[in-house]
């Protein structure tokens, strides 16, 4: 057995923080490398075949792409630390401005969706575990795994299309976002649902399976042997052991939500980062791509870091363990 660190919590914190920083460095380097990995001249690709050679040369010089790679990397890092993300190749607008305009829409949408996922999936999965424990409630089990399994594999952009077709076109109950008007809460319902349904179904399935495992564990048997009421067995003994896995999966779902939001935003013409990213990729507008990917990537890393910290608090064993 390895030596136990004197302050396991501080040790854990340090390890996680290091991991976070290394991941950030990887992200920054990857976005930098992306531009250099584009075959041919990225500036030419962005400006199009009709741009004059002088313009391309001027733009290349302006972006510093004629410098040695290590100098470019240093410039890129220095710019990042001063909050400078460059300007769009097509519109000339500062990337930071684009992000500041669009980020609130995306993050609010993701937050609403995540809240829906957690509030639906954990209680539902737990309840299904209690109902289907030990092979009871076979009909319920089949129904649940069938429906949840189906919803979990339907990609969010297809759900989005279906929701649009059904609620916005067919029934005309709910509006689809339009860029012109202000966005009331009702505009969030369909995109948030499209984003949340799949992950909620997936998480509920996982929570149920985990729940079955926890409910069959020796310590829950101990709790039953103590003749505790079912409520105490489920809420006090089973739930905390379930939350760790639910949180871990929830963290993974956030990265899924980020990816999903790109697609869903495009279906709903949402004025968020996702639509900006896709437009920029199509136009090879790499400063915008770099900026948006940096935002998405660091959001994912931040959430993972947060989940790690929360896990350390909830499950004391995770603080020690792993070398």
């Amino acid at each position: 057995m390895p030596d136990m660190p004197r302050h396991p919590w501080a040790h854990y914190l340090l390890r996680r923080a290091t991991r976070f920083l290394i991941s950030m460095a990887l992200l920054v380097t990857a976005t930098f490398a992306m531009v250099h990995a584009i075959p041919g001249d990225p500036v030419r690709a962005a400006l199009g075949a009709t741009a004059s050679p002088e313009l391309v040369a001027a733009k290349t010089h302006e972006l510093g792409l004629d410098l040695p790679v290590w100098q470019q990397y240093a410039r890129y890092l220095a710019a990042l630390f001063s909050g400078e993300l460059g300007a769009s190749m097509t519109s000339g607008l500062p990337v930071a401005q684009t992000i500041a305009d669009r980020l609130p829409y995306t993050s609010l949408l993701a937050a609403v969706a995540l809240a829906v996922v957690m509030l639906v999936a954990v209680p539902l999965g737990m309840a299904m575990a209690a109902v289907t424990r030990g092979g009871r409630g076979r009909v319920g089990e089949l129904l649940f795994t069938g429906v949840a399994g189906f919803l979990a594999v339907v990609p969010e952009f297809l759900l989005a299309v279906c929701l649009v077709a059904l609620f916005a076109m067919g029934l005309e109950w709910l509006p689809v976002a339009d860029v012109t008007g202000s966005m009331g809460p009702e505009f969030y319902i369909l995109p948030a649902l499209a984003l949340a349904i799949g992950p909620a179904a997936a998480l509920a399935r996982i929570v149920r399976v985990e729940g079955l495992q926890v409910l069959a564990s020796d310590y829950v048997r101990t709790a039953r042997a103590k003749r505790l009421p079912a409520r105490v067995v489920h809420l006090r003994h089973a739930l905390p052991n379930l939350l760790t896995s639910a949180l871990t999966i929830g963290g993974l779902l956030v990265s899924g939500l980020v990816a999903g939001s790109v697609l869903v935003e495009n279906v709903f013409a949402w004025p968020g980062l996702g639509t900006a990213l896709v437009e920029a990729i199509r136009a090879k507008d790499f400063p915008v791509v770099q900026g948006v990917v940096l935002i998405y990537g660091s959001a994912v890393l931040l959430v993972n870091f947060g989940v790690d910290l929360l896990l350390g608090r909830l499950d004391p064993r995770s603080v020690i363990g792993e070398s």
Binding site: I38, A165, A216, T222, V278
Partner: protein
């Protein structure tokens, strides 16, 4: 059921990709200027596109390209993942840790985001997108390969191969990869479904297949632009994507089931009753069944207050299930019948590592017994917990109650389990192999503690164990179980008595069990004594004495009639009888 679904899925995909372009190829190209961008009609079930081409036919034709690209993507992901995930095993621990660390970092980023970045690099188009998605999925496959390889690496046959000096590369493809192939195939099949969806997403965003080529994603994009006029044009390709994705999933699930050999237990209803106490424990005709298997077949016994009774037997004799049934802990599909009257019971389980809740402090787990059953306040229950921990000889109990189970040693945890049992006022303690997971010195301490608890509180103890020595140390009376029935009930003194003196065990099985226990005087040059043959399985319906096939004293009667348990022994030819007969014949 799943098998049929998997077969249908395979046929569905083969039909679409094989025959789709042949059957619908012409329709998909036929431009009908009289029917531009129309809604669904009899001639065009899903309407037509902007050039008057039939949407349904185009969906069918697009299936080959879509599924083909998904498979290409999966191939890239699996090949890359195998290489990256297998490298650590080949390169050795130091480089391996570096690669694993890198994969661990990359895998945290969403695959689609990586694919989008790579789409910038590779450009748009079918193959470029396949490369982008494929490369983006490499890390997760690498992670899987590496985890599986690591799980195999700990097994005995790998250790054996290593001892034999098998090289690392050879080890990877001869020993590791074949043993992880099955889960990889399952994941690859599921991954193909994922790749299909990801590809549809990329094409939908206009970054995948480019016009005039079209896959389902492109059709979906075209359809969405006209969703107001013709929803079917958007829903059709969407449905195709979902169906194909499901088909891959069903095949993956089937592969997992076929490889895993999962089986389902038949469910029956079960309930255990626990009326008020008379003696500490009275069990009448207790039977536990799991479907057709009957591991406990009509067990009856009584335990008086303060008595310490051991239940012994081989694995599968039904002794642990008897203990679980007594405390009402047999879960469905197990079905319990018979009469059980048990006084207030505390349980001590075999594995103190898993029997305490890892997420709760010791104090919580102990105190809740008193707050729930004795209506004690939380503070009082907590101080009682400290007292009880001190009672079981845990030093610094006040500190220990604030700790989590993982901070305690195995012996400490078992003490904490016993202390937990003492939080109520148990009149019966059921200990199921309480010392099996502990080392020998700790075993003795726990047994001493159980004896002390029994003498000071007057609680009866039922100790389930396969270890006759453990039973001999603690108990005064022993029940011997064989194939789900009690075959002998005897005082412990007869267990330890010299068998030949005439007052040893009466049942031949008990004697065989005793003979199989090695002691210090055993002749080490000879093999250890065993009982030849095997115990009948709970599924077997035995006529006659269940031990008859292995019994040296069995005759035709033993094979034909089941001996009844007369309160002491269930045997047609017990040893004592023979002893008496010999006396008489003399």
């Amino acid at each position: 059921m799943l098998r049929i679904a998997a077969l249908l899925s395979l046929l569905f995909l083969l039909f679409l990709t094989g025959l789709g372009p042949i059957i619908w190829g012409d329709d998909a190209l036929a431009i009908d200027t009289a029917a531009l961008a129309q809604g669904a009609s009899a001639a065009h079930p899903m309407g037509t596109d902007g050039l008057g081409r039939d949407v349904l036919a185009r969906i069918m034709v697009a299936s080959r390209l879509t599924v083909g690209l998904a498979l290409l993507t999966t191939a890239i992901a699996v090949a890359g993942g195998l290489v990256l995930g297998g490298l650590p095993a080949v390169l050795g621990p130091r480089a391996g840790r570096l690669i694993n660390g890198f994969v661990g970092l990359v895998v945290a980023f969403p695959g689609l985001l990586i694919a989008l970045v790579l789409a910038v690099v590779f450009g748009s188009g079918g193959t470029a997108a396949a490369l982008a998605i494929g490369v983006a999925s490499i890390p997760s496959f690498a992670r899987l390969t590496q985890t599986l390889a690591a799980s195999v690496a700990g097994r005995d046959f790998i250790a054996a191969a290593r001892v034999l000096g098998v090289g690392r590369v050879r080890m990877l493809y001869r020993h590791i990869l074949p043993n992880i192939a099955e889960p990889l195939v399952v994941q690859a099949t599921l991954g193909a479904g994922g790749a299909l969806l990801a590809f549809a997403a990329l094409s939908f965003l206009g970054l995948g297949v480019q016009s005039p080529g079209y896959d389902w994603g492109v059709l979906l994009n075209e359809g969405l632009n006209r969703v107001y006029i013709n929803p079917a044009a958007a829903l059709g390709p969407g449905l195709a994507v979902v169906l194909a994705g499901l088909a891959f999933n069903v095949m993956g699930e089937y592969a997992a089931q076929a490889f895993g050999g999962r089986s389902r237990v038949i469910r029956t209803r079960g309930r255990s009753s626990r009326p008020a106490p008379g003696p500490a424990l009275r069990v009448r005709d207790l039977t536990v069944r799991y479907g057709d298997a009957v591991p406990v077949k009509g067990v009856s016994f009584e335990v008086v207050p303060g008595e310490r009774v051991g239940i012994v037997g081989e694995s599968g004799s039904g002794k642990s299930l008897t203990a679980l049934a007594v405390s009402g802990l047999v879960e469905p599909p197990g079905q319990v019948s018979g009469d059980i009257e048990a006084a207030e019971t505390a349980m001590v389980f075999q594995d103190p590592m898993t029997s305490l809740n890892p997420a709760l402090r010791i104090a919580t787990q102990l105190a809740e017994v008193a707050t729930t059953h004795e209506g004690m306040s939380r503070r009082a229950a907590r101080s009682l917990a400290v007292t009880r921990l001190t009672d079981v000889h845990i030093a610094q109990a006040a500190r220990v109650v604030r700790q989590y189970p993982h901070e305690l040693s195995g012996g400490m945890r078992q003490r904490a389990m016993i202390a937990m049992g003492l939080m109520g006022t148990p009149r019966l303690i059921i200990a199921d192999e309480p010392t099996t997971a502990l080392d020998v010195t700790v075993q003795k301490q726990i047994l001493d503690l159980l004896r002390e608890v029994s003498t000071t509180t007057g609680a009866a103890i039922v100790l389930v164990s396969h270890d006759l020595a453990v039973v001999g140390q603690l108990c005064s009376r022993v029940l011997v179980m064989y194939a789900g029935v009690i075959v002998e009930d005897l005082p412990v003194s007869r267990l330890t008595a010299e068998p030949d003196a005439g007052d040893g065990p009466a049942h031949p099985y008990t004697r065989a069990l005793l003979a199989a226990v090695p002691d210090l005087t055993a002749d080490r040059s000879r093999p250890l004594a065993t009982i030849p043959g095997r115990m009948p399985s709970p599924l077997d319906v035995t006529g006659g004495c269940p031990f008859a096939p292995r019994c040296p004293r069995a005759d035709s009667r033993c094979h034909a009639e089941t001996p009844a348990f007369d309160g002491a022994v269930a045997c047609w030819h017990p040893h004592t009888t023979e002893h008496v007969l010999k006396e008489e014949s003399r």
